[in-house]
Symmetry: C2
Subunit: 243 residues, 2 copies
């Protein structure tokens, strides 16, 4: 419990962008000092609620969703360990989206205030928060393109590849803690069509599914079929003040 996997703490995410000083690390770790457990499939922050709490995600998966007046749901982000939930809500008094767990989750809530303190005490961390927000935005861009311009098969393939790469694992299989309705809400497809589309990918020999497990048989094939471009996940400049 005291021992945290590198990739599951936010310090690790920040270190992708720059070396951190001891004091910066201390500041960031303070955001993770009060971990709480949340059950699977539970709201962490409600839509329209007061936008004053953020979370660092230590373990488990979470997502951000919006529900429309007619009951349709759109999932906006999938969060993996090491990410910060709610950053973009900072400029609004009320939450624009709901945050909820996809699995059992260990996460640390912290108030907006705490972020202000960090910004005051460590200007360079502000830079890095800026970078992280910019990177999130790039992922959103990719989502717009995925939903707006790609067919169901391309969309699902793209999604699988994105998750696989973000998980940053060697193995060719992983557990996707989302049923096909949830996947549909993410990709703007009906659950029925998600099912059919999985079948197409299986029939093409690109992947196998069993329960919530995905086995990727042909990553290059998936990348090819989905028009996946790694740049938006990978390349980043070493921009940040060097003090």
């Amino acid at each position: 419990m005291a021992q945290v996997l590198p990739s599951s703490c936010i310090v690790h995410q920040f270190q992708k962008f720059a070396e951190l000083t001891e004091s910066e690390i201390t500041l960031l770790q303070a955001l993770e000092k009060d971990p709480r457990k949340y059950d699977s499939d539970q709201p962490m922050v409600t839509e329209g609620g007061k936008g004053e709490r953020f979370f660092t995600l230590q373990s488990g998966w979470a997502c951000a969703t919006r529900t429309l007046a007619d009951g349709q749901r759109q999932i906006l982000d999938i969060f993996l360990p090491g990410q910060i939930l709610g950053l973009r809500e900072i400029c609004f008094d009320r939450n624009l989206s709901e945050f909820r767990t996809l699995t059992e989750v260990k996460a640390c809530p912290f108030p907006r205030q705490r972020l202000t303190e960090i910004f005051d005490q460590a200007p360079r961390l502000t830079d890095l928060f800026f970078l992280i927000l910019a990177r999130e935005q790039s992922m959103l861009i990719e989502r717009v393109i995925n939903i707006g311009r790609r067919s169901a098969v391309e969309r699902l393939a793209h999604f699988i590849v994105e998750i696989k790469l973000r998980l940053n694992i060697e193995a060719d299989h992983f557990t996707l803690p989302m049923n096909q309705t949830i996947i549909g809400d993410t990709l703007s497809l009906s659950s029925v069509h998600v099912s059919r589309t999985f079948k197409v990918l299986r029939d093409k020999g690109l992947l196998e599914t069993s329960g919530g497990d995905i086995r990727i048989c042909d990553l290059d094939g998936l990348i090819e079929i989905s028009g996946f471009d790694r740049h938006y996940l990978e390349s980043h400049s070493n921009w940040a003040r060097q003090d």
Copy 2:
């Protein structure tokens, strides 16, 4: 020419979030001291190009686009005067999207370096850049929902309302410098269907079109039909360090 309308300079955008000091204003104005003219429908930054230049937009409209391998195009943002182009690209070595003009444009290019200087000299401006990025992200969220979950009629109505509100004008009519193909590329619709959809809105008495002009006959009707929620444009907290 020397006289700049308040809403068309970026200082004005920042002042939405917080009062600025003299020196902060000076720093921001330095970003706008080298205005250049760009013709209509021209690239300002190319996709895949070196991601080292940003722009402040003083007059005219611009957009960010991505072109897929098969030639499909998706417009990601519409930029109005006072906005900064390219912020989200800051963490990438190469541009993920192309930036191009929609009208004649007066804009000031500045290198990434300049942004770093500002971040060094005025920590509070860093906060505000962060807020602006967060707000941009909220608009992207809305785009995801628009494209993913709304019908063509809802989508177009939502788009018109968004532009109308962002223009921040009293008048019920304005010139939309985008032909129906461009609008389609923004909303992920074919140009033919944009035409049909405009007809639906006209037939419902919600708006009138002539040439590039839009006259809004029933703003509330458009808001109603599109499920528009002002929050993502309007409400914002006064979060920022108070020094």
